[in-house]
Symmetry: D2
Subunit: 366 residues, 4 copies
């Protein structure tokens, strides 16, 4: 179990390395009858492509997805959907040097420790390119959720010291700015900050926030399979994430019960919450309000300034990483957070369909 499968009913298995022949994903358990073509998926892959703005690497990754199975006459058949993205632009020669040493902040050392050796070309399986499969599968999950009235929206909340002002939330900015912030003014400041980082041969971190709207109350399970537990795993499994928050997150540790509790109240004949400190989840189960989570992303570990490390001969050395690297991971990871969130929520929705006897009777005795 090298751990490349995610989900219970809507189950995805990703494969591929940065510089192998291709990367891909198999989606098993997609319900039949969903209209699906390559364009549905490609639009999400395009959002994670590099080389599109002044703060991303000029490296070209022309990631074109192909559907190999599971779709017939334009609809999903219920059988596994195999998606493939060829690796066309990767040059292994760029990476031959890093075979000999361990880059700080990367998984070179831990892969060698675990497996005895590693595919050192561009990070191999621990490359950011591994997320291609996640995003492709997430696109299908997003389309299914939309059919069910549920939407998932991720965006950059902050980069380094620069935070978006969410009071003037501009959804169009998410996919059109370099930072993926929903705030064009903050985006400009973030870009300026990142250019400064690049001048200093340094990199920056940031925060991605994600919202789920339209999710009914009742999704998630009470103990180990809490919706927030599964969201945390999903998001923490993305390469550079070092912290996950639900709702008020870290702020709850200094809050008091009187302010942290969300009062229930009637509104238009429905039970709702007057505030949403909980981030839409109580006891691991969705409460019908908006789900909110945040992922804290570490600075790109590949920096151009000199660093100390150790080589495979176990000698102390100094290195200066070359090549083309983004000064920040955040903008390209926004769609990855969105994908992992969508996959988790969809799986929870599918599992929930058999949670009550009356659901079974309605289904089987109609």
């Amino acid at each position: 179990m090298s751990g490349s499968t995610f989900g219970n009913i809507f189950k995805i298995t990703t494969w591929g390395e940065s510089h192998g022949k291709a990367l891909g994903v198999v989606i098993d358990g997609c319900p039949s009858g969903l209209a699906l073509d390559e364009a549905d998926i490609q639009q999400y892959l395009n959002r994670r492509k590099p080389g599109q703005t002044s703060i991303s690497t000029p490296r070209k990754e022309d990631d074109q997805v192909e559907i190999l199975s599971g779709v017939f006459d334009g609809k999903t058949t219920g059988t596994p959907i195999s998606l493939l993205v060829p690796n066309t632009s990767q040059k292994s020669s760029d990476y031959s040097e890093i075979a000999s040493y361990y880059r700080p902040g990367h998984a070179d050392f831990t892969f060698d420790s675990k497996y005895g050796f590693r595919d050192y070309r561009g990070g191999g399986r621990s490359s950011g390119r591994e997320t291609i499969g996640r995003v492709a599968a997430g696109a299908i999950a997003m389309k299914l959720l939309k059919e069910m009235g549920i939407t998932v929206t991720a965006y950059t909340r902050s980069i380094g010291p620069v935070s978006a002002d969410l009071s003037a939330f501009d959804p169009s900015a998410i996919t059109s700015t370099a930072s993926c912030m929903p705030d064009r003014a903050a985006d400009e400041k973030a870009v300026a900050y990142l250019k400064e980082c690049m001048m200093n041969k340094d990199s920056a971190g940031g925060v991605i926030e994600c919202r789920i709207d339209g999710l009914p109350a009742g999704i998630g399970d009470p103990v180990f399979e809490k919706l927030d537990a599964n969201l945390s795993k999903a998001v923490m499994s993305i390469g550079a994430v070092k912290a996950v928050e639900i709702g008020d997150g870290v702020a709850v540790s200094t809050a008091n019960g009187s302010t942290n509790n969300d009062a229930f109240a009637m509104c238009n004949g429905q039970i709702h919450k007057k505030t949403n400190h909980s981030g839409g989840i109580l006891g691991g189960i969705s409460d019908g309000s908006q789900i909110i989570l945040r992922a804290h992303i570490k600075p790109t570990p590949s920096i151009f300034s000199t660093q100390e490390t150790v080589n495979k001969n176990m000698e102390n050395i100094e290195i200066a990483i070359k090549g083309r690297h983004d000064p920040v991971i955040v903008p390209r990871a926004v769609v990855v957070v969105e994908a992992m969130t969508a996959l988790t929520v969809l799986d929870g929705c599918l599992l929930n369909m058999s949670s009550r006897l009356d659901y079974l009777i309605n289904f089987y005795k109609k």
Copy 2:
């Protein structure tokens, strides 16, 4: 799948409600040959008992564990270990009132939404008593890890505004202070703060930190089953946790690569890291240094001041919760975080044993 099973090889299934006949856990996949008796487990259960300090409810929970299967002649047999803790002190009459309304910050509403009704006595399955099974199973995981040279230590890092000074780490204080802080001076301040909260009919949150020592490099898997992803799920699945951090955690989002990267260096003929911002995990795999994580715990939602909510007739009402409730969840959750961490790490260690061909050959061809 109501989600009461955790783990892949060392697999636990918990059961039981706050006011049912008993609570328990079945541990399946425990290796044979471990010396085990009730006392090994009871010492951990005693750490989560209430009624022991001035800041915990005087409610008595006399949680005595019984081993029902899986141990023969004082050793684990390799077959399922069933552990049972009878519910002896729960009085259902205390809780009859809450059947009619939804307590803010609790799972009453979401359970009704999911299942159509709920066991309203003391929170039922979403009660803190659900963690008894986790702690009991965690005790066995802790004992196995110790045999392998691995230790797990959780403690209170902060309560409300009061933080422990970790520069003078006092391990003995963890199990002997009311706050479970490894710092007796901070403990006194925390207790004073909590008494103030109680006087205000309010409650407080806090932070639990957990360290894993002795874990070799190579544990965890690269993609969805990253060690940090599984730790996040494990810890976030504990009732009141709203954020999880690994290593520097939320601080990475404002850090730069030049300071956040941990340089590798030779030390006594071994590769080690000069700093540990990563918290002992790179690319989802342990790097041989100390693993560090933090859980942010929300304030106890049961507070004695008046709160607005809704009853089952969908009327707005005001309530004042009665009964006996801790002003803070943190100290009693310390051993739960420790248990969930131990279970996760142990499972990762067992999975890792078949990760290389030479391991297979050593095992099967000796």
Copy 3:
């Protein structure tokens, strides 16, 4: 993973040894809202009790089940149902001798090989008593299936050379004859044959057949999770089963396509099959006709005649097993086959509820 969990959504975990304190099962994923009490379960446990007829051991096993969790106000809550059956009549002294040698046909040797030692009292975990948890969980599955219009019926098809005549199927005979055959005349012959076996200090095998009625077409999944594959695993996991057949079973290997194919034809406006050689499953998915399977059960390995074997000092010895043992396993295993079949089919039905987009839309957009 010692393998004591079965099922995907409706998931059971059994525990307990022949001579431990108790045996039991945890059922996780039972839908909420099912009326359930101990009597619902006890009636199935009573069917596997020994000491009830002239051909079963006079050993007393007074297996009384207790519900410890997951039921409130007489209905399942959706949370884990823990069932416990105390071991009251087991005397360890009866079994002390077998600690020193390996009984032919039993798992003594393989347990020692795997785990290094074993609980030798009455077979420990490999005792027939292990099936108590299966039968108890199966009782709940049977009750759920009944609510959905699906019934499962197992019976003895043959014992040694004596076969039931199914053309005069008598359902009442299944639970009232010693052999559990649906044919009282065959039962008399089977009892006579078994008495002969007992006189010869020998034992007999037989065949259990099981039918599922009312199952709609569409249950099961096309590749590895075929309904017949899961039924085979379920039934083959019962101690003494050495072969499993679906529909015509072993007879297909000498059949021709022209006779083995089942023609489709319209009947009362419905598509049905004119014959049922397939046993109700095509391509791993139920076809709407009756499901039929058969389990071939080996003769009781504990026989009273002298046998050759080896002791723990690795010496060849001769043994004569003492104690109280049934001359045939079949009648007491009928309810176990029924339980495993019911668990498998129910789980397939629950998984099937999310197999089409229109099911999702009906559920979430109503």
Copy 4:
């Protein structure tokens, strides 16, 4: 969960339809360090190719495998191995007619019942071509097992009324005869019988037997994950299998304990069994002797004689299937049984490595 994943640690996920762009498999959890290239896999795929003998369809399937990931410098890296086989020779026009009706003995009707429609080209996902992924993954399992000293050998035991004489077992005949029998004389008779079937526009069934040699005692788990239960599921999940036997199989139901029990005896200082009625498994765990299983395969359902069925307008019709179809499935399924057996046994071996405390200590404290 459309059920396309198999295994716990060595986990495979297959995808692809008969007439899609390609078929393939992702193997997750393959240990690192195994030398692997396409030729290792191709030799197994070649064994299931059609058009090679007088009794197989002249249809050409030029199934060339490509390794897309998981192998670097000629060795497995421990990350997912993605294998792809393009569909080059499939012509959809051949199959357009069958879109309108349900072929007897095929899964057309059950796919429509489950998913609402189906990919009708050549059987889609229920085509025999689905086994390409199984055989490709099985090739890797076979190579790993060989490194551990374990071999798996399947062969045709019988076709229709013609059985191989196993007393003169000729291994070279398995891969060089049309029937895959280890007996050239029986092969000739089987071919003659099949030609007769073809003349009659009919088809035949048969039996495949499989042996595992070199497996140590102790593999498999005692309850639901018995080795024989998992082998049964593995083999029954192959399209046309209708019965599975372990050891003496169906014969046990008419045997007596005195003849069915295998006596233990010392032999060269080792405990062994004097006979092997059990087929190498006791209590679900391997006993160190040869594992033997048999799969009963139904006759090819596609026959050229006229058959009754129903079309999608729910009218009774008569059909005569055209195209190219083998008169028997057995010879091409031999390598599939071998693959599924190898996958099951390997997974059991990997799980077994963490079954004892001393194994853990040896591994982690050396």
